[in-house]
Amino acid sequence: MTRCRLMVEVGRRQFLRGSLTTATAAAAAAAVGRGAEAAAPRGGAVPDYPRVRLANVRDLRIDEPLEVAYPDEDAPGVLLKLGKRVPGGVGPDGDIVGFTTICPHKGFPLHYVKEERTLDCPGHYSRFDVEAGGQQVWGHATMNLPQYELEVDEKGDIYAVGVDELLYGRLSNVLG
């Protein structure tokens, strides 16, 4: 209970730091903000998403969330390897997915519930299924969880090139 309340306070004050702490987080931090280039342009009101290297497939272990950020350092997210083919999954096994970790309801930081493979929000109890394209299992957000469009190159480097919903706290996914 106490921890949960702390999480909420963290969410209120410092949500930008994210809430996922894992053994591999350091590797991700190194990846963020490096090697940014333009993703393929799209039409209409779609902003020019950067193409950002988030990690290499070798950095990922099943069910160990890797803290990342996309499209910029102020937008925390997570990469997950799930060990089974899932919607939006990339990599040799189609099992690597990436999501924002800011709750699209009120902007609180999500945490990974390994046993059920959901991202849960301590702010108002919403939860999202990372095996079902981020579908909101239950909650208050009026969207399912924004998921990264990912690409993997021949070296196994994982790039984010887009997001499929508007991120909380910004009226353009690419700020500026």
Binding site: M1, R3, C4, M7, G11, R12, F15, L16, S19, A45, V46, P47, Y49, A75, P87, G88, I102, K106, G107, H111, E116, R117, T118, D120, C121, P122, G123, H124, Y125, R127, D129, E131, A132, G133, G134, Q135, Q136, V137, W138, G139, H140, A141, T142, M143, N144, P146, Q147, G162, V163, D164, E165, L166, G169, R170, L171, S172, N173, V174, L175, G176
Partner: protein, 848 residues
């Protein structure tokens, strides 16, 4: 893949955008929103001086920011004939929701009719009539002429009893003071209609008769009381899903201990702690889970009783508290009928005791206890919960705090007992408990229904008696000649729905066949043909709604209504907070506010009766020269509501999304309406002598006819209710991809062991069937569900739970949806739409 919009940016609200007060159309809580409207060909910019919020939008905004809106809050609509951008987002300055938006209200933008973005484009835009074998558009005058002629002929031939009406009585969209007044004036003043029923029940009755008969209005506290209570008792309510932001903004802070400073400030003499909470519900809900996550399991007590046994539990709690001497003797002596021999006055039916002297007078509390005495052990046997948990609940409710201070306990109840077994006595038993512990009219107290819709009821008195006619049963029996339907869809929201739909289709088809035999423009012969079919048992049906409905498919005339946002509308929320929700866009096509449809129908009835040479009848339909919804408001609320003389649109507009709490007491020097935060703070209850009544609430098993037998015959309880994603009868949600993506069929929560026995997998479609009918649902594995107890989503378009609810009602014709038993068998494997959805637990898990 889950539904995604692929919206990557939204237009920015410019500094000069028009700002309007909005109250969410939907649930009782009535969250405050602001609508921002500006021309379609421009937008603001990210620099502080370029946007409405004065914020640098080139930066990521923090949690809870007021400077962000989701795609669901945005749209392009018509206003005064021009294309405009609109953003409807939660108002951070509203004391009700404090900036929170639910998954329902935070979609108000996308629920707008937009021919540009394609949202809700199947809104009704023109009057439709059954012409040449299908529904065809026509003018208002043409449609209303037919309705008026048939209705007038019916009144002449059958009297008022030939006119059957279904009408909402609530606030928010499809209701509010303006529209409720108009409907009441037409049917209760101009006409004398008694065969009328309300949107969610088959008669014209209160859902909480007994509370009112005891002198306790059902919305008696303030939302702030949930922040001040020592203990909250939640009965048959799942507030996180159905009164979401009341729970999040007012209950949770108290469970977290965040309101301790406020408690100390307002109630300085007594000790305070974070609140404890008791849930009384056969099912473990997400509300229980959230409360445990916040308060800790040791401060949450879930009494998962046997379905329908609430009354026994309340009687046991009252007996125990009485025996311990924890009752509020001073309050009882001064402000209730007292302990012995209440006043000589026939207690309201069916409150009187089963025999003896209590048929003639009200009982005192001592007498009530003698009649209902129930020990925790006796209750434990019937309710299926441990006796020690009942004692624990009694202690949490009434054991004095350190220093001997009275515990402050708030009771909130809703459909679990309103649509549950023995409604009248069960609610009375809960009010007994609240009165005996002195918890009505004090800070941190209250005994309130949690509410469904907002409210907005001011009407001339209903001319019928009590019990009111069981309208849906009369329709099945062939009664009624013309049926006017205002914003109701019985096909999704009635009981005994399988049989109702079978008969209703047959009767309305008879009229359709007769109409097919006559040319449309030959009005005299058309009306004659309709009347001929009516005499053969047919029914002429008129449906007024904003969208096509299931019952509307059976109707002969469908009239397009405007809804909130397309008209100005006033309502009050669950703490009687009245606001004006302002018009922010044009209605679709020819659609009009209901109150103006009523007025134009009355104008046509006046004309038709005059043409028939009946001036006396024609004169009854005078007084409908309203041009705007404000005219209806001034004719209704302003003249007839208690304190209504102080309330005008202009004053309400100034009071924004916070409004005032009804009843109005006056106006201060700045023109602000002075309200009433808490009812009965003066301890003057709503009875002739101002003293509250107790009732004798004896247990009599499953009260409604057919329920005991159904329970014996069928294996599964089909408990039922709402879910977070959905509002009411899905009238918008059926066209919202986020909702239909999540719940393409109604879920049926089921214990995995029960599923295994029936050979069912997650997502399988099953038939739910019993003596009343059959329906379908999608199996949702739920480990927390008790064996043999399922929970089905109510009022859905693709599986109507009411199909399997039998016709048994209480003495006042209150339906009993909750106590339904049926068998379950597999229909099909999960369809493609289902295969992609999540079947994981809905319960949030804190970080480990």
């Amino acid at each position: 893949m889950a539904y995604k919009r692929n919206v990557d940016r939204l237009p920015i609200v410019p500094p000069d955008a028009e700002e309007l007060n909005v109250v969410c159309h939907f649930c009782i809580v009535g969250c405050g929103y602001k609508a921002y409207v500006w021309d379609a060909n421009r937008e603001g910019g990210p620099k502080p001086e370029q946007n409405k919020f004065g914020v640098d939008l080139t930066r990521q905004q923090e949690a809870n920011t007021a400077a962000w809106y989701a795609p669901s809050m945005y749209n392009i609509v018509k206003k005064d004939g021009r294309d405009v951008h609109i953003v409807i987002k939660p108002d951070a300055n509203c004391v009700v929701n404090k900036g929170l938006g639910s998954i329902r209200g935070a979609k108000l933008g996308e629920y707008c009719y937009s021919t540009v973005t394609g949202t809700q484009t199947n809104r009704l835009t023109d009057p439709l009539v059954w012409r040449y074998g299908q529904m065809q558009p026509t003018s208002w005058d043409d449609a209303l002429d037919l309705v008026a002629r048939v209705t007038a002929r019916v009144i002449k031939e059958y009297g008022w009893d030939g006119v059957f009406v279904s009408a909402y009585d609530h606030g928010g969209a499809g209701g509010g003071y303006e529209n409720n007044w108009a409907i009441g004036k037409l049917y209760f003043q101009s006409m004398q209609v008694t065969n009328i029923r309300i949107h969610n029940r088959p008669a014209y009755n209160s859902e909480v008769h007994s509370s009112r008969d005891m002198g306790v209005g059902e919305l008696n506290n303030a939302y702030e009381d949930a922040e001040l209570a020592d203990t909250i008792v939640a009965v048959g309510t799942n507030p996180l899903e159905t009164q979401t932001n009341y729970f999040l903004a007012h209950w949770i802070p108290n469970l977290r201990g965040e309101t301790l400073d406020k408690k100390k400030r307002l109630m300085p003499d007594e000790p305070h702690e974070p609140a404890r909470i008791i849930f009384i519900d056969p099912r473990r809900t997400v509300s229980v889970n959230a409360a445990e996550a916040e308060a800790g399991k040791d401060r949450v007590l879930h009494l998962a009783i046997e379905s329908g046994t609430d009354l026994v539990l309340f009687n046991a709690l009252l007996t125990y508290i009485y025996d311990q001497g924890w009752i509020d003797r001073e309050f009882i002596e001064k402000h209730t009928v007292g302990f012995e021999k209440g006043p000589q006055e026939v207690p309201m039916y069916p409150a009187r005791a089963d025999s003896g002297e209590f048929a003639e007078r009200w009982p005192g509390l001592d007498e009530v206890i003698r009649e209902i005495r129930t020990s925790p052990e006796e209750a434990a046997k019937i309710c299926g919960v441990p006796a020690e948990d009942i004692v624990k609940a009694a202690r949490w409710i009434a054991e004095p705090k350190a220093g001997g201070y009275r515990r402050r306990t708030m009771f909130g109840y809703e459909k679990g007992i309103i649509w549950g077994n023995d409604n009248y006595r069960t609610i009375a038993a809960l009010v007994n408990l609240a009165l005996a512990t002195g918890n009505i009219g004090r800070m941190g107290g209250g005994c309130c229904r949690m509410g469904g819709h907002q409210e907005g009821y001011v009407r001339p008195p209903y001319p019928g008696g009590r019990p009111a006619p069981y309208v849906d049963k009369l329709l099945i029996e062939g009664k009624g000649a013309v049926h006017h339907i205002w914003g109701c869809d019985h096909y999704k929201t009635t009981l005994n729905a399988t049989e109702f739909k079978r008969v209703y289709k047959k009767r309305t088809d008879m009229v359709k066949d007769a109409m097919n035999a006559v040319g449309w423009a030959d009005r005299e012969r058309l009306v004659d043909a309709i009347m001929w079919a009516i005499r053969q048992g047919g029914l002429f049906a008129v449906d007024v709604d904003i969208k096509p409905t299931m019952i509307g498919e059976a109707c002969h005339v469908v009239l397009p209504a405007a809804t909130q946002g397309e008209m100005n509308l006033t309502s009050m929320n669950g703490e009687r907070r009245m606001r004006l929700s302002e018009k922010y866009m044009d209605p679709p096509g020819q659609a009009m506010p209901d109150c103006l449809i009523v007025a134009r129908l009355a104008n046509h009835l006046e004309r038709v009766f005059r043409e028939m040479g009946d001036n006396e009848m024609a004169d009854r339909f005078k007084g409908y020269d309203w041009k705007t919804e404000e005219d209806a408001f001034m004719d209704g609320y302003h003249k007839h509501a208690p304190g209504g003389q102080y309330v005008t649109y202009e004053r309400l507009r100034k009071m924004g999304t916070n409004g005032f709490q009804e009843p109005a007491q006056g106006v201060d020097e700045e023109g602000r309406i002075i309200g009433t935060p808490r009812l009965y703070a003066d301890r003057k209850f709503s009875t002739p002598d101002g003293k509250a009544r107790f009732m004798i609430t004896k247990w009599r098993g499953l009260q409604a006819p057919g329920k005991e037998e159904q329970k014996r015959r069928y294996k599964f309880l089909i408990n039922n209710g709402r879910a977070n994603h959905v509002w009411q009868s899905w009238y918008y949600d059926v066209d919202h991809p986020l909702v239909m993506d999540r719940w393409p069929w109604p879920f049926l929560e089921m214990n995995p062991e029960d599923m295994k026995e029936l050979g069912l997998k997650a997502g399988d479609l099953v038939e739910v069937y019993n003596d009343a009918g059959w329906t379908q649902a999608m199996v949702y594995p739920t480990p927390t569900a008790k064996r043999g107890e399922t929970f089905m989503l109510f009022a859905t378009p693709r599986g109507v739970q009411g199909n399997v609810v039998n016709d048994g009602v209480n003495e006042l014709v209150i339906p009993n949806y909750k106590q339904t038993w049926a068998n379950i068998r597999k229909l099909a494997d999960a369809p493609t739409e289902v295969a992609k959805i999540s079947f994981k637990s809905k319960e949030y898990k804190p970080p480990t």
